[in-house]
Amino acid sequence: MTAVNTTGAGAFLARHEGLRARLPGAGLPWVVAMREAAAAAFRAQGFPTRRVEAWRYTDLAAVNGTVFGEALTGVDDALALPATGNSRAVFVDGRFRADLSTLDGLGYTVESLAVALPSLEGRLGAVARPAEQALAALNGMLFEDGLVVTVPAGVAGGVLELLSFATLSDRAPAYHPRHLVRLAEGASLTLIETAAGPAAARYLHNPVFEIEVAARARFNHGRLQQEGLDAFFLSTVYAAVAEGGTYDNFTLNAGARLARNEIHVALAGPKAECHMNGVQLVADGQHADTTTALDHAAPDCASRQTYKTVLAGRSRGVFQGKILVRKVAQKTDGYQMNQALLLSPDAEIDSKPQLEIYADDVKCSHGATVGELDADNLFFLRSRGIPLEQAKAILVEAFLTEAVEAVADEAIRAALSGAVSGWWQRQGVAGGIEVA
């Protein structure tokens, strides 16, 4: 046994050792077994280095080198949230806050994972793969809370908001919420998730989603990641979609100093569909990574992906997207496009789209483009009297349109537009954009 680690994987493993008896579900043998398995997986993998192919472009050294503390239990009741009229579940520093949430008359169930845990045997861990994804293993080892959403068959769940806030703390808290969403046959739900925190706060937000979409159910999942600019946001989403079901994911990746938005979708039943769209807005000092893995595991499924990355200042953007078509997945229709716009000479974009195809009767394609704002277009707008900064804003917005318009849900689209223009204004002021 070596000295106690204060940073890195060792620190988290030690924390698990120390908290073993106190973590939620400590009295439930199946939970304990699951945590031990996750701990073993995390011990084996550690924080992935760039030598791991899936992490080739994203360096977790800063996470690895940070001394994280525990998230303190709910201290802040001063949080004033504007009402939106939607139902919502609020998490503060990784813990569910019933007092801040509005969850009346839903027609479906929304619970805190910490509370619902005894009833989740067989469901918790059904889709996550901690043995393959180290961060899911870390989450599996240390999760304390999360949201459990269960929509019964045929129920149209409407819009639910999931707000996740970090408070200012000098302890650099790390929290690992585990969210479960299950839509029974023919059910539908729109979940709009906002993750945010104070600009100066350093924390690690490491959520894992396990999503099950049953036959002919439809889940719209909108995510607005606007964490504080010193935060680490490492998120892993797993979704399994059954016959005729649809999973729509839209992610705005705009906050955090280092953000990884990793999505694994399995189209497990025939005629299932998946749309994944996203916008990454990366400003000076930020690193944003979107990594998708689409597993076509049944015939006649369709998938569509459009991702756009805008980079300003000294920043780095990453897109990795793999489409796997298994032998059984005949008649697959898979499409993926990722595009990046560089607004600064100090920005870097790394893109790795990938096709892995084992069925012959398929239509699969991907495309990638990288470039700067079109000088002719810019000149045209300016020749019509539009000031340079505004002209750029117009062109950037046009660049993003395709990804934003692909979002089927109006509520998500509206939330997104607001976030985009807000980001843009901040960039204009910060002067992070290079004049072409």
């Binding site: 192919e53 472009y57 032998k327 005949q330 990046a340 560089l342 607004l343 600064s344 000479p345 920005a347 870097e348 974009i349 790394d350 893109s351 790795k352 789209p353 990938q354 096709l355 892995e356 195809i357 084992y358 069925a359 012959d360 009767d361 398929v362 239509k363 699969c364 394609s365 991907h366 495309g367 990638a368 483009t369 990288v370 470039g371 700067e372 290079e434």
Partner: protein
């Protein structure tokens, strides 16, 4: 029977008969002892009568190789290679270069005839003095040929004629003797000894290969061609090719390969280095037809090759064209370092995998100079149980202002037992660069097949026609003679597979 099902079945029913180059030539060979150690490296160097610096260079490479690990990132799988169980030197026992055709081993001549390469120049190739000074075929542009047989270059044709323009085209072992200053100046400057595992191995034990130098301002008057053949059993082939195009020069170089049918796997680990100075152009075309193994995946060549071009000069241009139909495993990424401003890199590739062949091939384009441009067109065809991967890197450095890349990767699947994979990497650190990448995967459409058959084409011909059409953008980049050969080869590779 439905046409598509039939295609599948026929693809699966490929037989050994598909490989038409699987003969073995029975000629006297000289071998170094099996195995690999410093003594073997010294033996090879001594056999080639090499200067001390080259021996040192080899030994340094060997020392580095011993510390390296065989790469495992490619999407190919094969049993562990026992590097001690192969011969690293095998040469026809022919001491002096022949002065007339009669002096040439008749078995060797038969081999040339069977190769069917543009060997109307056989006499010339066999080294008959003066034969190269008149066009071989009624004024048709001749092709100068260097043939590498297992470990040594056996003959180079048209040397005298080329020498009139100051062009050097000879075996690299000969260049070491005749032009040591050029070899020493450029060898290993594009692919350093420790570049990768197989390049290090090659640097230690390379036995022969071609050397080309085109002087300033010279447009090489004919195609230069090297024909590689692995013949002896349990022999690795480690040829090394070095081509230098000096300022303002132009050259087109062709490379062809075959090997006999054998149950065991044989290793081919070549290194090709190209250097293009200011305003120089090199066109490098390969038709790779190493023995692919039989329908069950027994035997076949492991083709682990490092090819790289250094576009050192401004406005230089290197164009790689490859048609890869052979080998059990292909691991190959002909690359361009676009260092000179306005330099251009191109990569055109057709790769077919049938039966149990595996190919992991593509290119790397490193944009360093300003306004550098690259084009990548890759056509992958998977049939039988073949696995075909395009792997490519486009990397743009911060200084490569105005850099452009366009990449098109298309995959065609024939049957549902095969795989087609596309793994492009784009790394851009330059704001004004523009990169476009497109990839598609499809199969031969039922309506295309029916349309052709309704016009009277057999299913096999229809598939051949459609596949050739699919590859057209690449095939048109090949020099005329090679294009015809490549088209036939495509058909043959799928033949026995279809129809």
């Amino acid at each position: 029977m439905p046409a598509v099902t039939e295609t599948l079945e026929t693809v699966q029913s490929v037989t050994e008969g598909g490989y038409k180059w699987g003969f073995e030539t029975d000629i006297e060979m000289e071998f170094a002892p099996k195995g690999l150690n410093e003594d073997i490296v010294r033996f090879i160097s001594a056999k080639k009568n090499e200067p001390a610096w080259l021996l040192e260079w080899r030994l340094k490479a060997f020392a580095m190789w011993k510390k390296m690990e065989e790469p495992s990132w490619a999407a190919v799988s094969y049993p562990k290679i026992d590097y001690q169980d192969a011969y690293y030197y095998a040469a026809p026992t022919q001491k002096v270069k022949p002065k007339s055709l009669d002096e040439v081993d008749p078995e060797l001549l038969k081999t040339y005839a069977k190769l069917g390469i543009p060997l109307k120049e056989q006499a010339i190739l066999a080294g008959v003095e003066g034969a190269g000074d008149t066009p071989a075929d009624g004024g048709r542009m001749p092709i100068a040929v260097d043939a590498v047989f297992d470990s040594v270059s056996v003959a180079t044709s048209y040397k005298e004629r080329l020498a009139k323009d100051g062009i050097i085209f000879c075996a690299i072992s000969e260049a070491v003797q005749e032009h040591p200053e050029l070899v020493r100046q450029y060898l290993g400057t594009v692919v350093p000894q420790a570049d990768n595992y197989f390049a290090a191995l090659n640097s230690a034990v390379f036995t022969d290969g071609s050397f080309v130098y085109i002087p300033k301002g010279v447009r090489c008057p004919m195609e230069l061609s090297t024909y590689f053949r692995i013949n002896a059993k349990s022999t690795g082939q480690f040829e090394r090719t070095l081509i230098i195009a000096d300022e303002g020069s132009t050259v087109s170089y062709l490379e062809g390969c075959t090997a006999p049918q054998r149950d065991e796997n044989q290793l081919h680990a070549a290194v090709v280095e190209l250097v293009a100075l200011d305003d120089a152009t090199i066109k490098y075309s390969t038709v790779q037809n190493w023995y692919p193994g039989d329908a069950e995946g027994r035997g076949g060549i492991y083709n682990f090759v490092t090819k790289r071009a250094d576009c050192r000069g401004a406005r230089s241009k290197v164009s790689w064209t490859q048609v890869e139909t052979g080998s059990a495993i292909t691991w190959k990424y002909p690359s361009c370092i676009l260092r000179g401003d306005d330099s251009v890199g191109e990569f055109y590739s057709v790769a077919i995998t049938n039966n149990r062949q595996q190919a992991d091939t593509g290119t790397k384009m490193f944009h360093i100079g300003k306004n550098t441009r690259s084009t990548i067109v890759s056509k992958g065809i998977s049939a039988g149980r073949g696995q075909n991967t395009y792997r490519g890197l486009v990397k743009i450095s911060p200084k490569a202002a105005g850099a452009r890349n366009f990449t098109q990767c298309d995959s065609l699947l024939i049957g549902d037992e095969c795989g087609a994979h596309t793994v492009p990497y784009i790394e851009n650190r330059c704001m004004s660069a523009k990169v476009e990448h497109e990839a598609t995967t499809s199969r031969i459409a039922e309506d295309q097949l029916f349309y052709c058959r309704q016009r009277g084409l057999s299913e096999e011909d229809a598939v051949g026609l459609i596949v050739n059409g699919f590859c057209r953008e690449v095939l048109k980049e090949l020099p005329m003679e090679f294009a015809v050969e490549a088209q036939k080869l495509l058909q043959i590779s799928l033949e026995g597979s279809v129809g």
